[in-house]
Symmetry: C2
Subunit: 331 residues, 2 copies
DNA sequence: AATATTCCCGCAATCGTTTGGGATAAATTG
DNA sequence: CAATTTATCCCAAACGATTGCGGGAATATT
């Protein structure tokens, strides 16, 4: 039996009107102090909890935030989800998790779900397949739902977005690579469609521009296996003083599989550098040196940004999170 | 502007009543075929989407399922979440993710959130700190919200639960260990509070009962570091023909860190066996032999079970998912 | 031609909460 | 003492979708 306490039931018990009960619970000045006391007491007794649907129906806003990512299995997003969840809890919100599975169709469907649920805001990491942005535009224009892209963001600056300082991270990686005094470098980037891959590459290229005697090869890998194969074929070419730079945790896993397959000693026979959230590098011996890209920090930052966007109309802008180098033993 | 299409707007455009529109959209026989056609056409045009709140308010049920886990960062849960999300999508539901952070207080708060949102059902993996089950009971009794425990479940059989066939998995691990012809075994289990740890241990003990010449040591580890330390101190004792059995992916990571720290050759100097979802074992060379405990399969099974529970009142029962041995090179 | 049947459709209440606009007392003022 | 202010409270209309019931018109049955 759905023995849920409602304003109506409290009102009946106290022989007052529903509106008075409603006002009493929020300390409205129109209600007598004595009445407020009695109402609150009974509400407490009856374990009253306001009905979220009724409120949402009336206010046209829910207490849900949505996070849409390609896959929850992606390591980078744990921290992000965790951070948003933590913050959301503080403001009495909850988090809806949606996966796009890198499918533009599902992505669009998910946006519909957000609309249905009139979510208070959406955090989106784009799928690699997204080409049409109308669904996103419509959400903002017609439905007034705050939208914030993170990590995998559109090129267009018509949207709010927060990213890691990708170019900086790439530049940092490039600098570290140069200082490491290596001969040939394999840079393994993520999916080619992602602006994040391009930004990181750009940063890296900028950094190593000066050092013309260093051979750099850029490849894209969208799966662990691809990264493994690229690593193996690179190292089988018997490169001189090699270094492999892995742009993500997933890629790092692939790289290390290749390294282990060839039984190559790190860092003696091959140096490794990664962009990572920090967990995977610690799995290897020696620990992999990495540039930290914290999904957790990104999540915290995004949530604050979301609050600002929700509160006032602000022009779309891009923000970024700075990275930090964490030296290990692979370099 | 919340330019949302409602039944009312459609009705006004067509000069018919709201109820007729509502009925037309669901092919109610009381509506003329021609009217249905016109309504559907306009609804399509105006991009009508029913308001989830209004429906939920009326039906007292939402289209949300909740999943509560200690932490989304736990590897085992990815597959689970993914599976539930996939299935939920098929029935037009969405998934609310809640974390208990292994805190009984937060866990109880989360249950309140579920109540507020009148979720259609809750999937719970218990925190290690849960001792009071009243909040769960109340949810079922008073609020009629289907509750299904998975993975980390209460001992009480007053609840629905689906677990991996933990005892079987333990037994299987025991059998494999025996056949591997080893001398000393370190079994690293998860948190001591969890019934799952006890069940796995029990299964393992049953299997190795016969083989009295094999020395087995059982330890509990609730963190990667603990698993690493236990492994190191075990192997430093220079055991005869050793094997380490890791009960989870997290523990496996710790074990391998220990192995690498001591630079011990697998499987020559030490054999490894794990219970795993399958990803981490593939990270090492040779690949770790493991017994597959698929969160994904568990999720699929749980969702089906949830549907049954929701549809009809059924007696609480326990279900389980069978495991499978995936040989690698570590054994 | 009168009655019964079928087919369409609209009215109105409901879910629980919020809120602007009264309404009724008592208290204050001139 | 009449007029106005104040303190409390209630009515009713939203929000959007659903649904039992009733009614009018067209058709079918006697």
């Amino acid at each position: 039996m759905g023995a849920n306490t409602t304003l109506k039931k409290i009102a009946e018990h106290l022989n007052i009107s529903i509106s008075t009960v409603s006002r009493a619970l929020k300390d409205h000045p129109d209600v007598a102090g004595e009445t407020i006391r009695r109402v609150k007491e009974l509400a407490q007794m009856m374990d009253y909890e306001p009905n979220a649907f009724a409120i949402s129906l009336r206010k046209q806003k829910s207490n849900l935030y949505a996070i849409m990512v390609p896959e929850v299995g992606n390591f980078f997003y744990h921290g992000f989800i965790q951070a948003v969840e933590e913050e959301a809890r503080k403001t009495g919100h909850s988090v809806l998790i949606l996966q796009s599975m890198n499918d533009a169709k599902i992505e669009a469907d998910n946006l519909k779900i957000c609309r249905h649920n009139n979510v208070a805001g959406i955090f989106v990491a784009l799928s690699t397949q997204t080409i049409a942005y109308e669904p996103f535009h419509r959400l903002r224009e017609f439905h007034d739902i705050p939208l914030l892209f993170f990590d995998k963001v559109p090129e267009s600056d018509a949207f709010h977005k927060v990213v890691l300082a990708d170019e900086d991270a790439g530049y940092m990686a490039g600098t570290i690579t140069m200082d490491a005094n290596v001969g040939e470098v394999l840079v393994i980037l993520g999916h080619e469609n992602l602006s994040l891959s391009r930004r990181r590459r750009k940063g890296f290229e900028m950094a190593v521009l000066a050092k013309s005697d260093m051979k750099v090869r850029y490849v894209y890998a969208d799966a662990i296996e691809k990264a493994e194969e690229e690593t193996v074929s690179f190292l089988e070419g018997d490169p001189d003083q090699p270094l492999v730079f892995a742009m993500s945790d997933e890629i790092l896993c692939g790289v290390m599989r290749g390294i282990q397959r060839l039984a190559i000693a790190v860092p003696d026979k091959c140096k490794i550098l990664a962009l990572s959230a920090g967990f995977f590098p610690s799995l290897y011996m020696p620990a992999i040196s990495y540039i930290e890209t914290s999904g957790y920090k990104l999540g915290k930052e995004c949530f604050q940004r979301m609050r600002v966007i929700s509160a006032n109309k602000v022009e779309p802008m891009e923000g970024s999170i700075y990275c930090q180098y964490v030296p290990g033993g692979s370099l």
